[in-house]
Amino acid sequence: MLAESLALSAALFAIGVVGVLTRRNAMIVFMCVELMLNAVNLSFVALSRLYGATGQVFVIFVMTVAAAEAAVGLAIVIAIFRHKQTVDLQNINLLRG
């Protein structure tokens, strides 16, 4: 059961990574990041069967951080959209050196 759970977690993480790397839409990239976070959560929960409740406690933390990150991240995305009328990441390079 553990192996399947970890495999699912790895698959979800990989999907998230590929999504982050390949998509241009900021919203989708954002969702892929969430997917990666939750993939990690899944592995935490699965492993807590072996190592005790620490993993489950940690999942609560990760979800809290993810919620906060979602709030800030979405606010930034909305601000960028208002400014540039697009959320295509290729058009956003304010950090260029």
């Binding site: 990574v17 982050v20 790397l21 241009r24 990441l89 290729q90 956003i92 390079n93 260029r96 050196g97």
Partner: protein, 728 residues
Amino acid sequence: MMNAQIPETGHPLADTVARFVWLLPLLPLLGFVVNGALALSAAAKIGPDDPSAGQDHHNAHDHAAGHDDHGHGHDDHHPARHKYAGIVSLVGPGVLLAAFGLAVAMFLAMRGVKMEEPFVLQLFRWMPVGDLKINAAFQLDQLSMVMVLIITGVGTLIHIFSVGYMQDDPGYPRYFAYLNLFVFFMLLLVLGANYPLMFVGWEGVGLCSYLLIGFWFSEEANANAGKKAFIVNRIGDFGFLVAMFLLFANVGTLDYAGMAEAAQKLPMGGTVITAICLFFFVGCTGKSAQIPLYVWLPDAMAGPTPVSALIHAATMVTAGVYLIARSSILFSMAPVASLTVALVGGLTALFAATIGLKQWDIKKVLAYSTVSQLGYMFVGVGVGAYTAGVFHLMTHAFFKALLFLGSGSVIFAMHRAYHATHNHDDAQDMRNMGGLKKFMPVTWALMWIATLAIAGIPPFAGFFSKDEILGTVFARANAGPLSTATLLGVPGHVVLLIVYVIGLASALLTAIYMTRMMIYTFHGPNRTGDAERAHLAEAPWIMTGPLVVLGVLSAFGGWLNLPELLPIGPIGTLEHWLEPVVGVATARMAGSGEHVAANTEWVLIGVAVAIAVIGMSVAFARLKPAALVQKSASPASEGFAKVLEHKYYVDELYDDAIVQPVKGISTTVLWKGVDAGIIDGLFVNGSAAVTRAMGWMGSQLQSGQVGTYAWVLVIGVLALLGAFTSSR
């Protein structure tokens, strides 16, 4: 200073007035502080101290040529005295007088006790660094006592003279501040109990010399003369420093006390001791204006005339002679160095005397005469006649201060006459003088005394000191370590005989050029001008008073050290007095040689006097003051006279051989090449360029594309994971 402690409580001087020796330099320092504060506060109230505002009165004294652009004298205003002139006139000479009184009291105390060891007063530890222990300490012994008496005594007279000479100068407090500061450093120089403390004084007097040469600094020539003196002296100071380093490295002490025993470590006449002495002598050539570094002294005449008398004739320039007398124990161990000192001194004496023959500026004649007489002093200390050298130093201080102050009073009168008639001629050129005897009889008589003294006519002071030096040179050529040593392959006795002949030749020239100066200045018809003649008059008493005192000293100063042959008073007073300080070294230099026979000595004296008389007669017979015309109408001189008038073109030679190449190298190599090219171009701007280039390259990685960053991140994570997993 108050917690001064006396380690040698057993010293006979410890309970006398000598324990206040620290007060000697402190008094002039106090005068400097007061006068300096007055100068500054006056400047603060009436605006910047601009000497050009009122220098019309005095600048023409010393650089009158080409002065028309200053427009002075067109109005009849007479510069008002400085508002603090009263208090400055009291403080400036007052502190000197107090110091002189204290010095006399100490002298009397020293005469009252029998002292073999010098009295050393420790003030505080100055530089305790490892083995190097240098204390701020004053040493009062017979030699420093003589120097202190000369400095404060002649200094007081010159300060008093300055009250009259500088009375209308707008920089009056500044002048006395510098002069007081000079005396402070000079006393530090002679009272310091070790070489580093002497060096502090040595540098300090150099600074004051610079400040006073360039006293009227708004005239560029004066400022340049000051700079020249300062820079040339730095070259000599380098030698002094190296000598101190060598001394410490090889002997291990820099204190005079114990130097004799400590120096025994070194082999007699060895390379090290010779090098130490020669480097000390390099310092002397700078400070005491000997070949090859004498060139600054004639230019130093740009300063006020009393400064020339005090610093550039009587005291500072004799510091080198004092240094050698003080280091006599070292020099007596290095015959080669001593021979060099004597030879350079002799050559300088002759060289400067020939230049003095053809100078027209009255102060320039005296300047070259000073260089020449300093040469005599070095001949004296070079051949180990340390007493004679110091004796000549003393008599020279008397008669040369008198000559300079007398010339100052002449220039003062000349300038006053020119000022009254709005004439812009050169107040220092002898061609514009002539016949001044009628107008300034006191100055005339006193300057003749000084001239007879310097020419070596008995019984005036210079005769005794000069004769003693020449006699010792002759004696050393016959016996003693110097005659057996060799200098650059030439046997010592030959060198000394050459020096003796040079000395005689210089004595002849001295008599000629001094008589020439007197004839052209005071005798013959007056060439000042018809309108000006009515305004020529003797200087006020505050100026002639010091001259009279110096005249008495110049006339009778010889009695301080009479030779055995002339028992007209106490014999060899100064010699007995200095015996504890220089006796050992003098004995070593004399070797086992017998005294020159009395008959020979009579012949030597006869020759010296005959030469002086011949010189003066030649001058009287050959020089025709009636044929002279004013400077502006004089034709340029021809042939060898022209070479002499241009001082053998030594300044031009130094300029071409040293100054211009140094400037050229400095400009092309050091400035344009090293500084602008390597330091600025390669290091400063180069490092900036490298940083900028690397920054540009780094900035190219920052595309701003989040996707790219994510790719890099993932690849990095994968690489790390791969690295960790594969190494397992």
